[in-house]
Amino acid sequence: MTLRVYAIAYLIFLYAPIVLLPVFAFNDATIIAFPLSGFTTDWFSQLLTTQALHRSVQNSLYIACITAVLSTILGVCAARAGAMYNFPMKRSIIGLVMIPLVLPEIIVAVSLLVVAIQILDMGLSNWTVIAAHVLICTPFSIAILNGAFQNLDPSMEEAAMDLGESRWSAFRLVTLPLVMPGIVSSMLIAFTISLDEFIIAFFLTGANPTMPVYIWGLLRFPASLPVVMALGTILVSMSIVLLTIAEILRRRGMARVGVKDKGGFL
């Protein structure tokens, strides 16, 4: 009984703030407070007509897509190397690659800013954000893809080569289809992380802000709070959908190679 109460309290603590988002996004008042005054979709229609927002969304999508692809490619390389080969210091190297997962983002952001401006002397642009996002997304990609690659029989690629295929086509014809669900899942998660990420983008973004940075800018104007709520509602729903698809694909991939599911984030 106590356990049940605890579980319910815990879930409320986790999700109540998120539930408030759609509540106020449809509330007909500029002040975020109870009691609710009435139903409106004005805030959503304002979203549709704000040019600056559109530009920032485009920016974010651009950054998130490229980040997803790059971090997944790096993840595939790392996961395949870890699963199929033995090399000196393997564990330490894999461990080092995973560290950005637990580094405070603000530290990463500040040091990357220093590196970009003081050392490399490059201007801030979408590409500095992409580089930083790849850094923080790659560990997630590796974690997801590790599962897919660890479950592969290493003889599988050898068998394909033995049957006449080159190393690359053995990878393409056998390994790639078997880890494809992991790849898609990794791209979706990296995409989601990059799309939502604020701190690093805030430090490294150039002339064009990403969407989270734009939202933060809006917060200075209390009148635009309900618009932020509306935008947040859309983002949360999108994130949930993407993460669900990613997890479904990951599980389907496990079933496909016929192994027991032992990992994953969800």
Partner: protein, 358 residues
Amino acid sequence: MTSLISLSGVNKYFGDYHALRDINLTINQGEFFSLLGPSGCGKTTLLRTIAGFEGVSSGVVMISDRDVAGVPANQRPTNMVFQSYAIFPHLTVAENVAFGLRKRPDIDKSTAVDAALDMVGLTGFGHRSAHELSGGQRQRVALARALILKPKVLLLDEPLSALDKKMREQMQVELMQLQRHVGITFILVTHDQEEALVMSDRIAVMFDGEIGQMDDPETLYRRPNSRRVAEFIGKMNFMDARVTRSAAQIDVDVDGLGACTIDAEQAPVGIDVGLAKVGIRPETLAILFDGETTVRETISGVVDEVVYYGDMTYYDVRIDGVDTPLNIAMKNLIGRPVLDVGEPTTVVWDARSLVLLP
């Protein structure tokens, strides 16, 4: 017989580890050849150097009179059945079997796949997906997939180790029949001595990266050239002995058994006058039960241990002058009792079944 594969002076190092030590061997066209040895003896590494998955550190590998150094696996006339079978789980049985035909447009796919599935007894299984198959069926798919390319050599890496005992015995016979039917050279890697004895034309026994002995199964079993070969393949009793004359006939005085004269052939690696070891297989000794008679040599002993197997009983019998009891295998024929520990008994032996080793 024409030689198909020959290895001369092959060495392989993994870092500091010397995995293959000066391997020399020739495998003939149409032969069923086995590499037998305990795990870690280098037999799988040797198979992989023939397949092209491992290069050699020194020495020459020839397939069909062609030096295959630097030739990758996909360009060698060899195909392999992997220990895990490595069936592609995202493809159907037919797609698995047809995989190697991608690079061979000259072969009609569906006819070849049907023929290959017929050959391994999986007629009509083509549409099944790989994870619906049992262990034995997966192995047959792996065989069909490798044989469809009509390789000169089929390499089998412990193909029966994942199967249960009944299935294993059945597949041993099927593999032999299949090999005779297709006439392709088979090279089998196994740690199971019985499997190697049953199936092979010739066996190379490997220890620590070296070939200890290479012979046909009967010679290997009856005339092992070292103690470790004798003990790896079946059981053997060993006794101390002194050689008093070594010529076309050898005079030897065996502890516990006494003096006898044997053929020079019974000393596979030759023998000098002096100390030696005598080996004798448990089934070439016998216990003389009440009412039985023999024309062979006898010696008396006391039963030390009895292990009953149903069709067989293994006795350890202690005889005077020998520290270790003799292990004797007896078939439980009609009327034969199972003796008790401590019973006095008579052991029958024959000089012709002795093996003399340095």
